[in-house]
């Protein structure tokens, strides 16, 4: 038995190593892309930091920030630092970027996990219920909710949510991080979670409907298995793989969408850091923020890939 377990672990481990190695070119490509983009777009941090009369001051500032070197030299230096885990120093705050990101990472994770929890807890059951009675009242209502949720702009939705829950009902604060507690988290998480909730409802519905007509489900029913057992053992388990894929992809999407929500609710996450850093051309902070988002996206999707094998043992770590 132990030998069998060991054999299972070996392909999983080699899969993990292979996937980790595959992230290196992805990360390098993203870093290069951002670096090149910020080298060609007009505007510079120097303009926003000092409107001094003396051109010598500008030259000194450029030298101090390393902006007087050619792009390839700067890129090489950045990669060399990155390899040691040093994300560089922010042009604006003159703080290490890693320290800035560390302060912002937890609020962003809080927001994304809360939004994801909300969307999965509501969206997946909604899709299941809708699929079990296709064309019925619940199905129609669920799909109206889903389409509406997908169509609403986050900024507008956030304002409506603020207006209703903070101003009209007075239940929750309209903005801010407070002590980082649930009271402050609910409204931004709700705003961020509505769209993925709608997506999960639609994806789940489509997946369940497809699986319900699959041969193995028909076989199970013909063997006399109860409908509850069919749904629980065959439909749900198979639908989970598709749902999990969507969840993994949505994590990346949510990190991008969090920018709007964080700014609207004064939530101190990586998104609002990214916005200000882009506007002020704080390249190290932009690079660091994007890199964290990319790494988080890759990590979540790697985790999803690993979970496939747990949910469905037929899936191999090839």
């Amino acid at each position: 038995m132990e030998a069998v377990e060991g054999r299972k672990k070996v392909p999983m481990l080699s899969f993990l190593i292979r996937r980790l190695l595959q992230t290196i070119p992805t990360v390098l490509a993203v870093v290069l892309l951002v670096f090149v983009l910020f080298s060609v777009v007009p505007g510079s941090i120097v303009s926003s930091m000092s409107d001094d009369a003396d051109p010598q001051v500008e030259l000194r500032l450029k030298k101090q920030l390393g902006l007087d070197d050619p792009v390839h030299v700067r890129f090489g230096a950045y990669i060399a630092k990155l390899a040691t885990g040093d994300f560089g120093t922010s042009f604006r705050t003159r703080e290490p970027v890693t320290a800035m990101l560390a302060k912002r990472a937890w609020p962003t994770l809080q927001l994304i996990f809360a939004a994801m929890a909300f969307s999965v807890v509501l969206g997946v059951p909604l899709g299941f219920i809708a699929a079990l009675r296709p064309g019925g009242l619940v199905d129609s209502a669920a799909m109206i909710v889903a389409v509406t949720g997908l169509s609403i702009a986050k900024f507008w939705l956030g304002l409506v949510i603020m207006y209703v829950f903070a101003l009209k009902l007075g239940w929750l604060p309209s903005f801010g991080y407070g002590d980082g507690g649930l009271k402050y988290l609910l409204l931004p998480a709700l705003t961020l979670g509505v769209s993925p909730m709608a997506l999960f409802a639609r994806t789940t519905r489509a997946a369940v409907l497809e699986i319900m007509t699959a041969d193995f489900v028909r076989t199970a029913r013909s063997k006399g298995m109860s409908e509850t057992r069919v749904v629980k053992w065959h439909v749900m388990r198979n639908a989970l793989v598709i749902i999990l894929t969507t969840v993994g992809l949505q994590f990346g999407g949510l990190m991008g969408q969090a920018v709007v929500v964080e700014k609207l609710f004064s939530w101190p996450g990586i998104g609002s850091l990214l916005v200000d850093s882009v506007l002020q051309r704080d390249i190290p902070a932009v690079q660091g923020s994007i890199l964290v988002v990319v790494l988080a996206f890759l990590a979540i999707n790697l985790l999803v890939d690993l979970l496939y094998g747990v949910i469905d043992p037929r899936i191999r770590y090839a």
Binding site: S47, V57, Y177
Partner: protein, 529 residues
Amino acid sequence: MMFRMTAIVAGMALALAGSAEAQTPRKGGTIRMTAPYGSSFTSLDIHTTQRAQDEIYAKALHRSLYTWDSAEGKPVPELAKEVVVSGGGLVHTFKLRDDAYFHDGRKMTADDIIWTFNRIMDGTKAYPGARYVRIIEGAAAVEKGQAKEISGLKKIDDFTLEMKLTEKVDPGFYFFTALTSIYPADEGAKDSFIQHPIGLGPFKFVEHVPGSRIVLERWDKFYKPGKPYADKVIVSIMGEAAARDVAFRNKEIDTSVLGPAQYVAYQADPNLKGTIVEVAEVFTRYMGMNPAFKPFADKRVRQAINYAIDSDLIISKLVKDKAYRATSWLPLTSPAYDKTMKPYPYDPAKAKQLLSEAGYPQGFEFEWTTSQNESWGLPIVSAVIPMLDKVGIKVKVKQVETAVLAEVVRTGDYQAFIYSQQSGPDPLAALKCFHSSTPQPACNYMNFRNPDFDKILDEAGQADDSAKRTQLLQKANAFLYEEAPVWFFNYNKAVMAVQPWLHGIQKNPTELTHQNTEELWVDDTSPAK
């Protein structure tokens, strides 16, 4: 009858007593301000940042040699009890306060001021405040690495400082912003300072949640007796106007800067109308014209543009009257503003005539660089295009980000641009932006060169008599009106909504959000009492 009279008198007495009580500053409570210009503060080292956003918290945390007195409309000594001027107006001797304590409990001395100014002149760091400190003799040498200490600063004793300037100017205009905040010597150089700044202000640092808020609490050893009134100041970062609006209506914040749309909405709402505070800020909005672009080299063309645009209509319909019509460069709140001056009238016929005289009877085409700013960007340009088209001038719009626009105007890489530029509080410094000796990247963005203008301004700079100086500055301002290097659009009307329980708001024309927080207090109707 007698009873009625007694009742009226008693009622009046009660009302008077009530009003006196209402005006007595209350101790305690929390002031909840907002920072509306972005999603974060740039840095907790205020010497490194020139953003208006950062000075909002810095006004509570730090103190400079001078401060802006909104009631007086001028800078006044803050860390000095007395300033003696000698040496033909170049030497200023400051008798410093001996009761100013940093938040670590140490008393401020002349050494701290000298250390701070030397730090700001560190040429390898390019601190933005260097452009102010450079007025001190020997400061430029430190910046260039030719000297270690500013020669124009001399410590007479712990509480007496002598400052020798390179020009005969009022140093108050140079040392009142947070860019020249006084730091505790040596402490300011430590790495920990950026995480936990120490200042001389009425409130000490407690917490910074990046992207969300800064919390400060009362500094009990602040040098103004009985001040500050509040226990705590929270500055929340709220870049979204709509979110601020909800929070203000929900009584979660005490102040909110209003844009044109909200200004209209608040004026129309009887519950909110009374919360509006407005002031003419020292910012001039304009379209700069590049004289290197042939048509704009001709004064008549520049004047024609001023005649061709119905500025009043744009201010009323588009800017929703959240601005004052500009006559020339100096804004309404400038001490040298000439009330008798009239702006260019809307006169397309006159514009056409001037264009013909200049050799452009069919008009011409130019490229106009703009940002998306709602008050001085693309919406304004879009409104102006048909007006210019009426007189034959075609416009090609080039839209850029605000950060890019700042670079465009400094490098002169434009035919025309629309911008908002500080035009005060010092009228001499504001007009110096048009002096031939001022390089384009500094603030002479239109590369204006006119020896007659220079002469007037130089005379104003040398004038000892303040009335004569004002007269000369007004003459220089009128000269600019005639030369029309820009389309004079408007002066910003800063508008802020202030909750009825927050008192002591100062109408600061240099930036309304920059409040001397020790003057603010909240009454017991505040939800954060």
